[in-house]
Amino acid sequence: MTAFQPPAEINWWKSPIGKDEIIWIGIALVWCLIMFFMMPYWHVYGKQNLSNEAYQTTPKKFQASVDAFVEKYKIGEEGGIPIVKPPAGSDVYLAGRLWQWYPILELEKDQTYRLHLSSLDWNHGFSLQPVNINLQVLPGYEMVISLTPNQAGEFGIVCNEYCGIGHHSMLGKIIVREK
């Protein structure tokens, strides 16, 4: 008489369904559909979406783009890492490598930048704190997102994908200035 006996009905798919079950299935299905449609909805009306813009690249090529970018807009240095201030609205390059985010970026508040992200070696995790935006960064792929800092201040970039023994010391920075 139990769940580990064969069903009483010869055809189990003809067994009756109780009222509780049918109501619950209905409610649950509606909720599932709401959750499903929230995602396309947010693509249209929400402000936090991934762009899906990405290119195949190589660590060498990406390194070259980063170097050119740093060369052009470098304004200083902190702890040996260049601080780079690109013009508002421009393309910005950030590389993850063992164990550093390179370079330090200085951006303007409420301006939109096209951020190019890639790794020069292993997987890394771009984790902007304390804003809490988290992106996977892979070697061989250049992800481009349009980012609009809407707070001024100094922000840390933690690496939140394990990348070996120095993983915990991989820390970068984005500085956002008021206009």
Binding site: F4, E78, N134
Partner: protein, 578 residues
């Protein structure tokens, strides 16, 4: 000598070769759990920042081994035992090809040992996910491959047993629901292992230099086709065990065979999807694919879990009400055997799996919300609710059932067993809730030092984040204690537990002669009869069979909706991006 024995207490018939295999697999699983649990102490005491026990390299080694022994070796060894139980024992059928089953066990065991040697030597600290291009030693991958091949053999032994049972007509009608659920798990397992082979074999060849390059993004896509669906095996397996436990304890039968089986079918159809929720913030994948995949088409596998969430306790409620526990909404639950660890373990795991594991999982698997959660400590917190309090605690509850039934031993230290589910889950839930909190504050997973010692630049997490990691540390220590209590009871019962004489079993199978041939020496048990039709009775109220459960389900839904939209709100506060 007959092929079967019967457990006089439970009435189950055991094929003697299946009996030994179940024991061997269960014991191997429990040893892996012991290793995972000891290592967990190192992990948690390191992440508790003011203790910060281990140096960085040891921490990453220990964390790798903790994850693999817990998630892969403990759970899968135990699942193999469950598959044999659900086929051979429940269908009263001899096990197909016991020699192959032993070969599978041998492969799994050698694979597990080989992988552990690679990790614990400190030269393969790549985490269980082993994302390329970070490289482990070749025998790290080879061990996993051997383990997977062994598990695949076990799945085919399971399928073979179902075929034999059908051929030899050991049961009437359709297979029982529990077996049906286990079949779901095994089908998903075959898909899983195939993906595992596709990703691990090239990676192994790469580690010995035969292949020059493996694409980092491709690796993650296929790895998660494997890693994700392996979690769905666990869901299908532990839900089946829930039905088994309510059947044994309450004589419960499913409220509706059709609904419960339909929900399992949804698992087969849609669970393979959703691998995308691990790679939602990866470059190079389209949003359309991510949305379709991360939501299991339209959350149809979530729907299946929501259905089981109602029908499992609902079936129990119906059974309890038919015994006269009809007062109010919850008499059936209040008067449940809370002192029996088989019940308390099952019920706690049901509640925590649904309320915490399920809700957090769906929330962070939402394409955009994942941006504020990906790779934070929120993620391990989520899966400790699913795979530790959900799957592992269910397996522990089942073990308490199997100690007398399969191992024919009295439970060693029954008071400890009685408290164990409470201690373990209190610790775990504390750990989970506070790590969810810390993750929301951005604390990273797989991270040795949230203070970033040795970094050129600096960043400080909020003080609350440190506080939360400390409280989760306290919870973790309590959980390790609770896990230890389980090991003491399980292993203690096998070694010191009073023998429920006689037995065909494991540690005593050589020395003791069976005493009662009619019970211990059966050629072929009689056919397993289909359940009797129930008289149409009404124990619930206003047409509801399980009103109490329905109320609980509505509470779950409200929590779900509220928490879901809180997270959208949080997301809307971060920097705009497109």
């Amino acid at each position: 000598m007959g092929q079967f024995r019967q457990c006089p207490d439970s009435g189950f018939f055991f094929d003697k070769s299946a009996d030994r295999l179940m024991k061997a697999n269960a014991v191997a699983g429990i040893v892996a759990l012991l290793i995972a649990g000891v290592l967990a102490l190192g992990v948690i005491l390191t992440r508790w920042q003011s203790i910060h026990l281990l140096p960085a390299d040891t921490f990453y080694t220990v964390l790798t081994a903790h994850g693999i022994n817990g998630l892969i070796f403990w759970i899968i060894f135990f699942e193999i035992a469950v598959l044999y139980f659900a086929s051979s024992t429940l269908l009263r059928c001899r096990l197909a090809a016991p020699k192959w089953a032993w070969a599978g066990f041998g492969l799994m065991l050698s694979g597990a040992i080989m992988n552990n040697i690679a990790v614990l030597s400190g030269k393969s600290s790549v985490m269980m996910t082993s994302y390329v291009p970070m490289q482990a030693q070749p025998h790290f991958y080879l061990g996993l491959i051997l383990f997977a091949v062994g598990a695949l053999i076990a799945c085919f032994v399971f399928f073979g047993t179902l075929v034999i049972a059908k051929d030899e007509k050991t049961y009437e009608g359709s297979v029982p629901l529990v077996t049906f659920g286990a079949l779901t798990a095994a089908i998903i397992a075959v898909f899983t292992i195939a993906s595992g082979a596709i990703v691990l074999i090239p990676t192994f060849l790469w580690s010995i230099g035969y292949i020059a390059h493996i694409d980092a993004a491709m690796y993650r896509v296929i790895w998660w086709a494997f890693g994700h669906s392996s979690q769905q095996i666990n869901v299908a397996a532990h839900v089946s065990i829930w039905y088994l436990i309510i059947g044994v304890l309450f004589g419960a039968r499913p409220m509706s065979e059709k609904v419960s089986r339909f929900a399992f079918l949804l698992y087969i159809l849609f669970l393979q999807l959703a691998a995308a929720h691990h790679i939602l913030t990866d470059p190079g994948l389209s949003s359309e694919w991510k949305i379709f995949n991360t939501s299991y088409a339209m959350y149809l596998a979530v729907l299946a879990s929501l259905i089981h969430g109602l029908t499992v306790p609902g079936s129990m409620e119906v059974a309890q009400r038919s015994k006269g526990l009809t007062k109010g909404l919850f008499e059936w639950l209040r008067k449940a055997p809370w002192g029996n660890p088989v019940f308390s373990g099952f019920f706690i795991s049901l509640v925590v799996f649904g309320f915490i594991g399920g809700i957090t999982g769906v929330v962070m698997g939402t394409e955009q919300i994942n941006l504020i959660i990906h790779n934070t400590i929120y993620v391990p917190a989520h899966f400790h609710a699913t795979v530790v309090v959900g799957t592992s605690l269910t397996f522990m509850a089942l073990t308490y059932l199997l100690i007398p039934v399969l191992f024919r031993r009295q439970t060693f230290l029954p008071r400890v067993a009685q408290w164990q589910p409470y201690v373990f889950s209190a610790g775990m839930v504390t750990l989970i809730l506070f790590q969810l909190g810390a993750g929301t504050l951005g604390v990273s997973r797989r991270h040795w030092d949230m203070g970033f010692s040795g970094a050129t630049l600096s960043f400080d997490y909020a003080g609350t984040a440190y506080m939360m990691m400390a409280v989760s540390g306290v919870g973790g220590v309590l959980a390790v204690l609770g896990g230890g209590m389980f090991i003491v009871v399980a292993v203690g019962s096998l070694i010191f537990g009073k023998k429920l004489e006689p037995s065909a079993g494991f540690l005593q199978s050589f020395a003791l002669a069976p005493l009662a041939p009619e019970v211990y020496d059966i050629e072929q048990p009689e056919i397993l009869k289909r359940a009797e039709k129930l008289p149409v009775e009404e124990h619930g109220s206003s047409g509801f069979h399980a009103p109490g459960t329905f109320v609980l389900a509505m509470i779950l839904l409200v929590c779900f909706v509220v928490y879901y939209f809180i997270n959208w709100d949080y997301l809307s506060s971060v920097w705009p991006m497109s």
